[in-house]
């Protein structure tokens, strides 16, 4: 195999296709979890930030990263979790938000939202786009989502909370 000099861009490009284990239509790059890659000889250190501190997907993501890079002959690979700066839904790309909506999850409305605004948010139904929706529960199947129901099409749906 011809060895090429490893670059940060090349590594990030390889990793940008890894899907989020919980929401496989978006990648960890689009979610804003993949922060950096530090090249070290033939290996590298990957900097990840968790969406929520207890997110159980982190272990799977770490494995996926190691497997992807090792398949391309990059070794050793270490993955480091950083908490600073804290992950925010601001880092989610617009493309990712649209992918979420098409997947049936209402994307986060805006960033820097406070809890006080939670009750007054108008969350559009990802299915019929109606704005006549109601909050069923602030907590859903994963830490990052809330449960809503649409009053027009009657479909229940998940909303990715601003964080």
């Amino acid at each position: 195999m011809v060895k090429q000099t490893l670059t940060k861009e090349y590594i990030l490009q390889l990793l940008s296709v890894i899907p989020d284990p919980e929401i496989p239509v978006v990648s960890i790059y689009e979610m804003g979890m993949l922060r950096d890659a530090i090249v070290q000889d033939n290996g590298c250190e990957i900097i990840l930030t968790p969406t929520y501190t207890g997110c159980p997907a982190m272990g799977i993501i770490e494995q996926d990263i190691k497997m992807t890079l090792q398949a391309h002959g990059i070794s050793p690979v270490t993955v480091r979790l950083v908490y600073n700066p804290a992950w925010t839904t601001d880092w989610m790309t617009d493309i990712a938000k649209e992918k979420l909506r098409r997947y049936g999850i209402a994307p986060p409305l805006h960033s820097s939202c406070t809890l006080d605004t939670f009750a007054h948010n108008i969350v559009a139904c990802p299915h019929c786009l109606s704005e006549d929706t109601v909050l069923v529960s602030r907590f859903g199947s994963t830490a990052c989502k809330a449960l809503y129901q649409c009053n027009d099409c009657r479909e229940p749906f998940e909303y990715f909370k601003c964080h």
Binding site: V82, F139, A143, L147
Partner: protein
């Protein structure tokens, strides 16, 4: 006491509080009064497990003896745990679980608001992350306190009983020791009196809005931060640590 020793104790206490409270909340899994509540309480438990991992990992790094978060969680006896007693008390009825969540999460909201400005960048980062999560916990507990306190005569009676029974465990949340004082002096730790004042004002307002009575300060329980626990912590650990005690280094 060196700065590292103080920082180890400080991180350990935050990790232990999150770990033990998380354990209690996870006991509600499949037992909560309604499905949405089951999700909420277990979501909180998950947040706290994540927080415990972050603080215990850091405690292990600061200690410098190569102990991981798992070593600290599974290989210490109860006398070495420094969580506040309120976190280890049995869940009781739903009102007791909510009263504890109210007292603890409102404290944590003010505490982590201050700690995010710590001169220790790791503590500051974990605090900023945690703050986003405990805001949800505090809001949720406040809403339930209102609903139960201002609900039926039965729910009001139970919520008031829970507030009264747990009140004597709230003083310990604000206790400080030599390590706290040293870290505060270095702008690493937080200044506790303003946090206590803000907490009390918030709790007073919430209880008043919920038609509940603020208990009178009498005797306050203490001991958890020094490793002197109620009988309940040992029972938690005997279950939580069973696997690593019976099969050391077992891996999933």
């Amino acid at each position: 006491m060196t700065k590292e020793e103080a920082l180890y104790k400080y991180s350990l206490k935050m990790g232990d509080n999150a770990l033990v409270h998380s354990y209690r909340l996870s006991e509600w899994c499949s037992n909560a009064p309604l499905l949405e509540e089951d999700l909420a309480l277990t979501n909180f438990a998950l947040d706290m497990i994540g927080r415990a991992q972050a603080f215990l990992t850091y405690a292990g790094q600061v200690e410098g003896k190569d102990r991981t978060d798992d070593d600290l969680a599974y290989r210490r006896s109860e006398r070495l745990f420094t969580n506040s007693l309120i976190t280890e008390l049995p869940n009781g009825d739903f009102a007791h679980t909510i009263a504890r969540l109210l007292f603890v999460s409102v404290f944590e909201r003010y505490f982590f608001t201050a700690l995010q400005h710590s001169s220790d960048t790791t503590l500051a980062a974990i605090a900023a992350k945690t703050l986003k999560e405990v805001k949800y916990h505090a809001t949720h507990a406040t809403e339930w306190t209102m609903r139960l306190g201002d609900g039926t005569s039965e729910s009001k009676k139970r919520m008031q009983a829970a507030i009264n029974n747990l009140w004597m465990y709230t003083g310990e949340l604000f206790e400080t020791d030599e390590a706290d004082a040293m870290l505060q002096g270095l702008n690493i730790g937080v200044d506790m009196p303003p946090i206590k004042e803000n907490w009390l004002q918030y709790i007073k307002g919430t209880l008043a809005a919920a038609n509940l009575t603020l208990p009178e300060d009498t005797f306050m329980q203490t001991g958890g931060h020094k490793g002197i626990h109620t009988e309940h912590l040992g029972h938690i650990l005997s279950e939580m640590q069973y696997l690593q005690r019976a099969y050391p280094d077992a891996k999933w």
